[in-house]
């Protein structure tokens, strides 16, 4: 829970950790991978792919899409690893890359499939979210997140689970800060309602 949210006492948000001085445990592998060492890159993948997969799966709300996105993230990281200057931990940079690759691709998918979601269209959202048979393997919250409309889900995941500030969420999603807050509020309202129904 970050400081401002703790004061308000209304929203649980994962803690954001900033690093001023740090020893990056990935530094040596990153250096080798940036020089074209695929074995070193494979080791970076082994260390981080589950974290990336967790992030993109929650953003996508779909396991198949999450598979594709995870692969795309690491392909892009391989291509542009030389651009990583080491100003932050590799894992932090990777998280940013993963978020942007995922949001960019999901936006394109949304435009292509014209899956526009409208406020109040909850039944459609629920039907869309429950179609994947593998969802039974997910944690309860992850199954519920799948039901959320895309932009609502993205704002909720980035703010409440990934611990990003609303300003950063708004920047990544290309929306106003107020819209980010409204989307998170809407997500919480829907999730609480669904939890309430499930507990009856």
């Amino acid at each position: 829970m970050n400081a401002s949210d703790r004061l308000k006492g209304t929203t649980v948000t994962a803690q954001v950790v900033t690093h001023t001085h740090f020893d990056d445990p990935d530094k040596a592998l990153v250096k080798r991978a940036a020089e074209g060492d695929l074995i070193a890159f494979r080791q970076l993948y082994d260390r981080h792919h589950r974290r990336v997969y967790g992030l993109v799966m929650r953003l996508a709300g779909n396991l198949d899409t999450a598979n594709d996105l995870t692969q795309e993230v690491f392909i892009q990281v391989w291509k542009y690893l030389a651009n990583f200057r080491g100003d932050s931990k590799f894992s932090t940079w990777l998280h940013t890359v993963a978020t942007r690759v995922a949001i960019s691709e999901l936006r394109q998918q949304s435009r292509r499939s014209n899956h526009l979601q409208f406020v109040g269209d909850d039944q459609h959202e629920i039907e869309q979210g429950l179609t994947h048979e593998d969802s039974a393997d997910l944690a309860e919250l992850d199954r519920l997140i799948q039901r959320l409309p895309p932009q609502t889900r993205w704002a909720f995941v980035l703010h409440c689970i990934e611990g990003m500030r609303h300003e950063d969420v708004a920047s990544e999603l290309g929306i106003a800060v107020g819209t980010s807050k409204a989307q998170v509020h809407r997500a919480r309202t829907l999730l609480e309602e669904w939890l309430s129904h499930d507990s009856i």
Partner: protein
């Protein structure tokens, strides 16, 4: 809509649980193979010092155009055209081969969803193409000029390198 306080508390617990204990999820299949295949297929080279590279390409294209003009002007004054059908056939083949390479490159970028991102290099690209056109025309007149052959091949390679540079460096990679 009435939502109980317990639902709100439960949601907070679930969020904490996911964020603290289940941030990582194991994919339901091996994803590395696809990544490795894609890397191998594209034979991606990691760009080093991209900004310097852009500047160098930009200067090179302008220099090439000037050099081409000077060289061809001198050749026009000093040489008499020598017909050589084998050389012209080779020139046709080289030009076609370059066009195919260029098309394969562009198609691979398009298929990968990349978009041209460095529009300011369009001018440099055009300069290289203009130079290649002029050299090709001169080679039709002087198919035995080895320097011109090397120069044309070098310009073709510069064009391919410039195209690779021009295609999108995604926004995702711009901030570390």
């Amino acid at each position: 809509m009435t939502v109980s306080k317990s639902s709100s508390s439960k949601l907070d617990e679930l969020i904490s649980d996911v964020a603290d204990k289940h941030a990582e999820i194991t994919p339901n299949k091996d994803l590395w193979r696809g990544i490795e295949a894609s890397i191998s297929r594209s034979q991606v080279k990691v760009p080093i010092g991209r900004n310097r590279w852009l500047g160098w390409l930009s200067a090179t294209a302008a220099t090439v155009l000037v050099m081409t003009g000077v060289m061809l002007s001198a050749m026009h004054q000093n040489n008499t055209p020598i017909p050589n059908h084998q050389g012209i056939d080779l020139l046709t083949m080289l030009t076609e081969q370059h066009q195919q390479q260029r098309q394969v490159l562009l198609t691979s970028f398009n298929n990968a969803g990349y978009q041209q991102s460095v529009n300011e290099l369009e001018n440099e690209l055009q300069q290289l193409r203009d130079a290649a056109t002029k050299i090709t025309a001169q080679l039709r007149l002087e198919p035995d000029n080895a320097e011109l052959w090397q120069f044309l091949q070098w310009i073709h390679q510069q064009e391919l390198d410039l195209l690779r540079t021009m295609y999108q460096q995604p926004r995702t990679m711009q901030r570390a």
